[in-house]
Symmetry: C2
Subunit: 208 residues, 2 copies
C-alpha cells in the first residue's frame, strides 16, 4: 500500500527550500499523497536555548552550509542567491499559508515564497512582498494577509507547532510517513521509498 | 585528474561509523587516494558550549538519530547495536590510531574499533578492549598503547584538532577534497564525485 507524506517546512530554512521545490513532482511521479505542513522553527530552537539559527551561532557550520547549498543547488538545478538577511522572519508567511493550505494553488504560493527568499533576495516578512506573491499565484492578497493576522490565523500556526512537537519533529525539513520521521532534505527520497513500500522501503530489518 | 580524499572521523560518532565501514572500498573502486584523519570532536563541541553530544543535549534529535541509524544500517547492510554508553570516550582510541596511521593495517584497526563501539557494545575507552583489537589486527598492543599515552602521542592528536579547525571542520564525518569540505555521511558519495572530476563533480556552476 501507499502511505502519504506529510512535509514539514520552515520558510526560513535553506534545506527546506531544496525539498519544497522538488517534493510535489516527486510525489506525483510515485502517486504518493502529499500534505504541506508549515512549521515555525523559532519555538523549537528557543527550547534549545538558541535565539538565532545554528548556522549563525556556529560560524564554521554556517559557512559550510552555504557552500553546500551552492553545490546542492547546482546538482539539483535550482537557483540560489544568498539572502542579505538570514534567517528571515517567516511568521507572516507561515500564517498566510496556514490560511490557504487547502487551496490547490497553495503549493505554487509556497514555491513562490521560497524563491523570493532564496533565489531573489526578497524580504518575505514584508506584507507588500507577500501580497505580490499572493496576487501572482491567484489569491486575493488583502483577504489572505488579513486572515493571517487574526487570532484564528495565529492559532492555526501555533497548532502546527504543537502537532510537530508531538511527532518528535526538531528541525526542518521533516517528512512523516505513517508515523515514521525523516529529517533533512537528504532523506526526502528515503521517505518516498518508505511511503511506497509495504515493508517500509524494504527496510524490514529496521522495523520495530 | 583525481584528487585524494581526506576522511576526518571521530570514533564516538555514529555517522562516522557509516562512512568508516564503507570508504576504503568506495575509494578503491574509483581509484581515489584515501587518507584517514582521526578527529577528536570534544574540543570542537566544547567551543560550542556543549559538554555532551548534541544527540544527548537535544533528546528529540537524539531519538530520531538512533532511528535513522537503524534505517541507514539496514539499507547499507551494516550491523548496529546501540551502545550502553554514548558517546564513548574516544581519546585513547584516537591517540592509538594516530601512532599507527601509516601502517597498512590501520584501516582494519579503525573498522574494528567502530564495530566494537556500534555493533558489539564494547567499551573502546578500555585499554584491554583496545589491546584485543590491536592484537586481532596484527599490532603489538602493548607498544601501540604505550606510544598513544606519551606526550608525543597526545601531541599528535592535538595537531589533528588544529589542522581540522584550520580546514573549517565542525563535525564528523567530514571529507576534504582539494580544499573542498563536505560534512556528513550523506556527502561521502558527493566527495568522491568531486575527487574524480575535473570540474568538481560536474558542479561547475558551484565553483568559486
Amino acid at each position: 500500500m501507499t502511505h502519504g507524506v506529510a512535509f514539514w517546512f520552515e520558510f526560513a530554512s535553506t534545506y527546506s527550500y531544496l525539498s519544497a521545490m522538488r517534493i510535489q513532482a516527486l510525489c506525483a511521479e510515485r502517486n504518493v499523497p502529499l500534505t504541506w505542513q508549515p512549521l515555525p522553527l523559532g519555538p523549537i530552537f528557543a527550547a534549545y536555548g538558541w535565539r538565532d539559527s545554528p548556522f549563525n551561532l556556529f560560524p564554521a557550520k554556517g559557512a559550510n552550509m552555504w557552500r553546500d547549498m551552492e553545490r546542492e543547488c547546482a546538482r539539483l538545478d535550482l537557483p540560489l542567491q544568498r539572502p542579505d538577511v538570514f534567517p528571515q522572519n517567516s511568521m507572516l508567511a507561515a500564517r498566510t499559508i496556514c490560511g490557504v493550505i487547502d487551496d490547490p494553488r497553495a503549493p505554487d504560493l509556497i514555491r513562490a515564497i521560497y524563491s523570493a527568499n532564496f533565489a531573489q533576495n526578497r524580504n518575505i516578512s514584508d506584507p507588500a512582498v507577500l501580497g505580490d506573491l499572493l496576487t501572482a499565484t491567484g489569491f486575493d492578497a488583502a483577504s489572505a494577509l488579513a486572515a493571517a493576522q487574526t487570532p484564528e490565523g495565529k492559532a492555526r500556526l501555533r497548532a502546527q507547532s504543537d502537532t510537530a512537537a508531538a511527532l518528535g519533529i526538531y528541525g526542518a525539513p521533516s517528512f512523516v510517513v505513517d508515523g515514521e520521521l525523516f529529517w533533512g532534505n537528504d532523506r526526502l527520497e528515503r521517505a518516498l521509498d518508505w511511503a511506497t513500500s509495504d515493508t517500509g522501503g524494504g527496510h524490514r530489518a529496521a522495523e520495530r
